[in-house]
């Protein structure tokens, strides 16, 4: 069932790469409009698999995914983009052999107002505007992540699924990316975030889901979980966030 105010709902999802060997077992979550929900958990918990299953890249064998109440379970990834769900993979999230401009035009190709949207994106990401004619492989790590997020935004999504956007970035660039993600919610975008950088993720998130072994373990408001001693002990390296 959809939670009131939820733009995205995942209901008892069972999914995995190999038939009969599910990685996710009955996972549920809700993403409230204009908010950030972060998914954390140990390696192998199924965080990335969950986000890929929502993006239509991992087969779902049971359960349901709803976007604004509409069942989108099993819909092809290319159609999901049109319905308002964008996905930013952790790595290989841009087309290296295309120029920066071509990467964006690829996503914008079916939009009537593609030219205007392209200008808006370049205004939002000035470093990309400066390098729009260069091949994307020439970008720095931070700029690549910027381009990946710009590609996600190009489709004017209701929901962005982000898989570890800070991975491989310098601490400064990682903070900037996460702060930028926070800013996007003010523009009406809702974000489901998988992040290893737990402290920073909890600082910008509204809600948090903790997964382990492909199942929901703990969930709650991000600020409450970040100050929870048990969660801090297990998931935050034995120290409570904000503890003296």
């Amino acid at each position: 069932m959809s939670e009131p105010g939820a733009v995205l709902s995942v209901d008892r999802l069972v999914a995995g790469y190999v038939k009969g060997l599910p990685i996710l077992n009955q996972v549920s979550l809700h993403l409230i409009e204009r908010s950030i929900a972060v998914i954390i958990g140990p390696n192998g918990a199924g965080k990335s698999t969950l986000i890929k299953a929502i993006a239509g890249l991992v087969p779902v064998s049971d359960g349901a995914i709803r976007l604004n109440g509409r069942d989108i379970t099993g819909i092809r990834p290319d159609r999901l983009a049109g319905l308002g769900v964008s996905y930013v993979p952790q790595s290989e999230n841009i087309f290296r052999t295309l120029t920066v401009r071509q990467n964006l035009l690829l996503v914008l190709r079916r939009k009537r107002s593609g030219g205007r949207r392209l200008d808006e994106l370049f205004a939002l990401f000035p470093p990309l505007a400066d390098k729009q004619r260069e091949r994307a492989e020439s970008l720095s790590g931070g700029q690549r992540q910027m381009l990946a997020i710009a590609m996600a935004l190009a489709a004017e999504p209701a929901v962005i699924l982000m898989d570890e956007p800070s991975a491989g970035l310098s601490p400064k660039a990682a903070s900037e990316v996460l702060a930028f993600a926070r800013g996007l919610t003010e523009q009406g975008v809702s974000i489901l975030l998988v992040e290893q950088n737990v402290r920073q993720a909890l600082a910008i998130a509204d809600y948090c889901y903790i997964l382990a072994e492909g199942r929901n373990q703990v969930e709650g408001a991000a600020d409450a979980l970040s100050s929870d001693p048990v969660v801090g002990e297990i998931y935050l390296g034995g120290k409570r966030v904000g503890a003296a």
Binding site: A55, D78, G82, P89, L106
Partner: protein
């Protein structure tokens, strides 16, 4: 020697057209399609049939175009043959390769491609016979374009070279200037990400077959225009197009073009400096040489 070089460039333009589709499919679907060269045969025979049909419908159009042996009906038949060959490539994919890639691995597809090649060759032999055919009985003599060194070229060869280059330029413009071209390149680089970016994979795969098939069809007609139409065209070209693909780097359209010309020139030079019986070994030598020195090819990426 310069004449051999010139002949090699002309042959290279045909090999390049054949190799473009092969490299696109090899990169996109990750399998070596040994039946791709048979599309050249399909194209050559399709043009023969369409030429006959058009000539029967409009006898006045059976007139030669300028100094060429090519007639207006054959000119139209080339376009129709490209379309039919492109369509044939999609049909073969739907009937054979699509089913196999959904249930088995790339190796099974390679073996299947050998079977498809045999079926196409046998079917063409059965329908049209083994006797080679000609598009026209008119003989067009070569023209001397230089007396020292003596260089001879047939008007048909100039047409074939010009048409092949024009088709390759058109493909370049599509790939580099249109969002559809970006989608093709995106799928070749990262199919999952392309889907996430809103690209429908099955459409791109089908279009790649159509484009690759159409180019192979044109290559078949262009080869037959200066030679003969026979069921062995595909068999004769299979190694050449593979060598061009490997030289250029799998997945690189521009590499396939360069590789095609290099293979063509190597063929031409081999005929000039070696006994005729040895020239068919050139593609093998080129493949081996490239694999030793630069396995990823000239434009290919290290994997």
């Amino acid at each position: 020697m310069i004449q051999a070089l010139l002949d090699g460039v002309l042959v290279g333009s045909v090999v390049s057209l054949g190799a473009i589709g092969l490299t696109m499919i090899m990169h996109l679907l990750r399998f070596a399609n040994f039946s791709h060269a048979e599309l050249l045969s399909i194209g050559a025979y399709a043009a023969l049939v369409f030429d006959g049909l058009f000539a029967a419908a409009v006898p006045a159009a059976k007139a030669a175009v300028g100094p060429l042996s090519l007639t207006w009906t054959l000119f139209l038949a080339i376009i129709a043959a490209m379309a039919l060959t492109g369509l044939s490539a999609v049909v073969i994919d739907r009937l054979v390769f699509k089913r196999i890639r959904e249930t088995a691995g790339p190796l099974s597809m390679v073996f299947a491609s050998f079977g498809v090649a045999l079926i196409i060759r046998s079917a063409l032999s059965l329908v049209f016979g083994l006797k080679p055919r000609l598009y026209t009985d008119d003989i067009v003599f070569a023209v001397t374009i230089s007396s020292d060194p003596q260089l001879l070229v047939k008007p048909d060869q100039v047409f074939v070279f010009g048409a092949a280059v024009a088709i390759m330029l058109a493909l370049h413009l599509v790939l580099s200037r249109t969002t559809f071209g970006y989608a093709l390149r995106a799928v070749a680089e990262n199919p999952s990400l392309a889907q996430v970016a809103g690209v429908r994979l099955s459409t791109v795969i089908a279009v790649t077959w159509v484009v690759g098939g159409a180019l192979a069809g044109a290559a078949g007609v262009f080869h037959a225009l200066d030679n003969q139409v026979s069921p062995a065209i595909g068999h004769n070209f299979v190694l050449a197009v593979f060598a061009a693909t490997i030289v250029g780097g799998i997945g690189s359209v521009y590499g396939a073009v360069l590789g095609g010309f290099l293979v063509g020139i190597a063929f031409g030079l081999a005929l000039a400096i070696m006994p005729p019986g040895y020239s068919p070994a050139m593609p093998f030598l080129i493949i081996l040489g490239v694999l030793f020195i630069r396995p990823q090819g000239v434009f290919g990426e290290q994997r």
